[in-house]
Point group: C2
Chain length 305, copies 2
């Protein structure tokens, strides 16, 4: 059985870390503002699959006190990947550690691998509606499965990890790495930025014929980029499916819109700059998403000025 | 000597009409809300070239009372071109009338010609800083020249018009029609819409590196469209010149930004939809300006809902 560390005790880290600990796995939680609270009260998960409490968890105020573990699950915002994440990981990874990045965007694994050449990295794509509603308190409303894309993990190790998570009651499945990342980008790139740029919600963007077409055009830019990068399984049918799925959703504020609303830094780099740059390297332009990137950079600069 | 009618007694119509009347030309003004005021007080122009007052002008509350004239100068917002302008023109044009459209955008002359097949139409591109500051009161701060592009005017008639305006003290010059319209679009299309989309001013857009590049890319889309439509004299040097000129300008709100601020309809059709459609007809795409068009349509729909 593998040992786990959870970096980022929010909606994602709190939920999956909680599931693993509940199943008896060795789990270590890095808890910043929550530290004193969870030390005394543990972790509470209200879940559509059944509530549970963990009165005692291994919580730490700093990574320097944490042991090295086999698997590190990262649920941080990607804005912290350059300056904060390497410092968090350095003391807790051993020679054979696997890091799972449950984050939005393109290029995250490449950048982390550059800093830790020997590290085994896995992309985690969570399909879950959950929220952190208080200190040591996660509310899980629906779904909960996680797709794992193997970036640089030994395949036999990867399968042990997959089995271990499944045994802990987490619906985990292997997906092709690049395809999985770009599939998520098809929804993320249009909706995250456009809800910020026009200060609105997903349903209003789809109701207006002009922005509905724009969102679709942007989805097709993402699919075109993915195709240019060798992901040939993505076609316009997937864009059609994403449009239909969003039509059926309740009005929704994507994570970037929430970051904008609460004046937190936006994940512009990994959600926009990197995918646009990766596509450009192979000669594919994404003009409408590049324009959105510029608008978001302007909006962020105005908020900070 | 030609007789004149002025449709739209604002910053443009008031100034050029005033100049012509001051020089003794026969000028008829259509004055809506100003009618009672100008009937009693006339027209006042404060100008960097010398103030002047016209205590008595030929003012009308409705076009139905106006005589037919040789030249009709239109300074209306182009949002009124479909439903209002034909009704205003019908009673006052004669068989040989010339209409000068001093309006922003692309496609204005085509549309008017479709309604009035025999009409002689001229594009007027005014380089003037003027504002209507009160009833019958125009303030002219600087510049004042007008470039005339011959769309469908008999050339000998066009030259009489040009001479007549010059004799009245207006700096008027002939320019190639299509080139002149597209040259104006190089500045108008990026700045009018972007100041609305990001609710900002020209200087802030140029100060931020991301939006500065975006503005330049959009200018190059306009130049590409113009080239595709046969205007081969427009090159990237003109975009460089427009960037530099705007750098040297005081922070500025383009007309569409003022329309947005005062909750007036925006000239989206002739400033965006038409030029984008004209370019598309010859196979040239303007993706960033098409995205801006969609954003503006969304913003206008939200304002009206």
């Amino acid at each position: 059985m593998l040992s786990y560390s959870i970096i980022g005790m929010g909606a994602i880290g709190g939920y999956y870390g909680g599931r693993l600990a509940k199943a008896g796995r060795e789990v270590h939680f890095l808890a910043h503002s929550d530290y004193q609270y969870v030390l005394q009260n543990g972790l509470r998960v209200e879940s559509c699959d059944g509530d549970f409490c963990l009165p005692h968890i291994n919580a730490y105020a700093t990574q320097k006190d944490m042991p090295k573990t086999d698997v590190i699950i990262v649920g941080l915002k990607s804005v912290k990947n350059h300056d904060v994440l390497p410092e968090l990981l350095r003391p807790i990874v051993h020679q054979n550690s696997i890091v799972i990045l449950i984050q939005n965007g393109i290029g995250l694994e490449d950048d982390l691998q550059n800093v830790f050449p020997g590290l085994q990295i896995v992309a985690g794509l969570a399909f879950i509606c959950s929220a952190k509603v208080g200190p040591g308190h996660v509310s899980h409303q629906c779904y909960g499965s996680i797709n794992l894309g193997n970036y640089s993990c030994q395949q036999e190790k990867f399968e042990v990890l997959l089995q271990d998570m499944t045994d802990a009651g987490i619906q985990a499945a292997e997906v092709p790495y690049l395809e999985a990342r770009w599939k998520k980008a098809v929804w993320n790139m249009p909706f995250n930025g456009m809800t910020v740029a026009l200060n609105t919600s997903t349903d209003k963007l789809l109701k207006n014929p002009a922005t509905r077409q724009l969102i679709y055009d942007q989805m097709m830019e993402v699919i075109g980029a993915a195709n240019a990068l060798g992901v040939n399984t993505l076609t316009s049918e997937f864009a059609d499916k994403m449009m239909q799925m969003t039509d059926e959703m309740v009005p929704y504020s994507p994570s970037m819109k929430l970051d904008f609303d609460y004046h937190r830094p936006m994940e512009i780099e990994y959600l926009y700059s990197r995918p646009i740059a990766e596509a450009k390297k192979v000669g594919f332009e994404m003009p409408k998403l590049a324009m959105l990137e510029a608008e978001l950079k302007f909006i962020e600069a105005q908020l900070n000025s």
